[in-house]
């Protein structure tokens, strides 16, 4: 089977976007909406690029170190994030993403606003090997006790705590694992696209990752695969829209949510404010 360069690129980007989609999926699976994952992606991308370009490391260990750094930062952010829910967590993570972007804008070693180049080496096989490995990890997770813990924490934190689950560990772990995946995707992306700048990792990038999950449905990790694939291939099919593609995606998001606000989320995916329910009920 031979694929044209063009289709290979599309397939490669789909793989990276699946990893990025999962990075938003994992915190969402425990009820945490993060709008700052582009920040973790930036950390993975810049760390891996520093190691390969300036230290001469081989690609794979550099990417792994980048992902681990992002994971460490994710755990650090995950702890204060425990205190926040719903839109407040979304606002805080948004602020975090902006801070990371500003940091790299001012960090001279990675070129500041001029960006960084000299990376290369990401191959189609490498990306899909990572997707496969992470997919198997998520599959095992979904069918193991830990998967049930995620569900339990997601559905009702208080009840989960009462039956003896370590809610803190589950939530912070999910946040850190999501950050690791974003860092991994960032490292692979940087060595594919050959040039990165702080603006690559903006607020819209974080939103896009959440869109992959939304489109595929938040119920399952494999829904994200569909979401990421559709969102990678669709813009290409919609090239006739030219400059209006962004507007089209915005309208599509609004329309999707109008059509199936619950259908897209077949389950109570995001915490319903229980107090409000209690108040309405009695």
């Amino acid at each position: 089977m031979t694929l044209s360069d063009y289709h290979q690129t599309l397939l490669l980007l789909t793989g990276i976007n699946i990893l990025l989609g999962w990075s938003a999926y994992l915190p969402l699976a425990t009820g945490q909406l993060s709008l700052g994952n582009a920040g973790f992606m930036a950390v993975g991308a810049y760390a891996a690029s520093l190691l390969t370009v300036q230290q001469g490391w081989p690609l794979t260990p550099a990417i792994v170190v980048g992902a681990l750094l992002a994971a460490g930062l994710g755990v650090l952010v995950g702890f204060p994030a425990l205190r926040l829910h719903g839109i407040y967590l979304a606002i805080a993570t948004l602020g975090f993403g902006e801070i990371v972007r500003t940091f790299f804008l001012n960090f001279e070693r990675t070129g500041g606003p001029m960006g960084m180049r000299g990376m290369s080496g990401t191959t189609l096989g490498m990306v899909w090997a990572w997707v496969l490995a992470c997919g198997i990890g998520l599959f095992v997770l979904a069918h193991a006790r830990l998967g049930l813990s995620l569900d339990a924490v997601h559905d009702d934190e208080v009840a989960a705590e009462l039956i003896g689950l370590n809610v803190t560990a589950v939530k912070v772990g999910a946040f850190g694992a999501g950050a690791a995946l974003a860092g991994l995707g960032g490292g692979l992306y940087a060595h594919h696209i050959l040039f990165i700048e702080p603006g690559t990792f903006n607020f819209l990038e974080s939103i896009t990752m959440v869109l992959f999950v939304l489109l595929g449905g938040m119920r399952t990790f494999w829904g994200t695969i569909i979401g990421a694939a559709v969102f990678t291939i669709l813009p290409d099919l919609l090239r006739f829209l030219k400059d209006w593609r962004g507007a089209f995606f915005g309208a599509l998001l609004v329309a999707l949510l109008i059509a199936r606000p619950w259908g897209l989320l077949p389950r109570r995916t995001l915490r319903i404010p229980l107090r409000r329910l209690a108040r309405t009920g009695g």
Partner: protein, 289 residues
């Protein structure tokens, strides 16, 4: 020139405060975050620009820009919020983000992505108060912001519809049992919120004279910061936090370097969220954390 920096920060903060209040109104009354306020603010700047370049004087241009921005916000409400009633608050948050993308891209296509300038629409007179220089533009900005805040305060505290808004904020079910017209409250709140954001756009156009389709994200999101720092849903809080943010930003540019200004602003946001999540003046009771 510390005093001069404080004055400049105050001018910037006046716009942050207006945007912050626009966010806070909707969050305080309906417990929802309308991210598209940032783009309504951006559109306000472009509406104002279009009117002023056609030779319209400042005041009528401001009023028309406010009305148009208010109407845009009603459209956002119609499509991003009304069909999603009863869903968790993060769902309308996401659909308002969809609207942000739609409005930003539309503005890029209509006006181009370059930064454009406001023509001088207010006669510039400089007043020297000892060592400080205050321009007539700055006085107009400050005066407009203060006036709008007073009008909003009177609307919420002294009118029948304002009483309805406060009732819905406290408890939507009880308010509807007591005969508050929910539809009217929603329309009034979204219109007022959009008009305030639009006014802020017009004022930012006057201050920096540089606007682009992306100021909704670059400047508008700082309104969210002003809201959270002041206390989510608390209108007075946003009025107080706006100038604090503006001054913090101007001082960080002056003493730390321009590169640190966003770090300071968003750092303040995260600090407040983690250390004092209710904000400086306290969040309204319904805005749960």
């Amino acid at each position: 020139m510390l005093l001069q920096q404080l004055i400049n920060g105050l001018m910037l903060g006046a716009s942050y405060a207006l945007i912050g209040v626009a966010f806070s109104l909707i969050l305080g009354i309906f417990d929802m975050l309308n991210i598209a306020i940032g783009e309504v603010f951006m559109l306000g700047a472009f509406f104002g620009l279009a009117l002023v370049t056609r030779g319209m004087p400042f005041l009528p241009a401001l009023l028309i820009a406010m009305v148009l921005a208010g109407l845009v916000n009603l459209v956002v409400e119609r499509f991003a919020f009304r069909p999603l009633r009863g869903t968790p608050p993060v769902i309308p948050l996401l659909s308002s983000i969809g609207f942000s993308m739609l409005l930003t891209d539309t503005a890029v296509n209509v006006w181009g992505s370059e930064r454009t300038q406001f023509p001088p629409s207010v006669r510039v007179l400089n007043f020297e108060l000892g060592p400080i220089l205050v321009s007539s533009v700055q006085l107009v900005i400050l005066g407009t912001a203060v006036l709008l805040m007073v009008v909003l305060h009177l609307l919420v505290e002294r009118t029948k519809i304002g009483r309805g808004m406060r009732a819905v904020a406290e408890n939507p079910e009880t308010a509807s049992i007591l005969g508050v017209d929910a539809r009217r409250v929603i329309v009034t709140t979204f219109f007022a919120s959009g008009a305030l954001a639009g006014a802020a756009g017009m004022l930012v156009g006057l201050t920096f004279s540089v606007i682009s389709p992306f100021i909704g994200i670059e400047i508008g999101l700082k309104g969210v910061v002003a809201m959270v720092v002041g206390g989510a849903g608390n209108i007075q809080g946003a009025m107080l936090a706006g100038p604090i943010l503006g001054i913090a930003e101007v001082l960080s540019v002056a003493y730390l370097g321009a590169v640190y200004r966003d770090v300071v602003v968003y750092g303040l946001l995260i600090l407040v969220l983690v250390v004092r999540p209710q904000g400086l003046l306290g969040a309204v009771e319904r805005a749960r954390l």
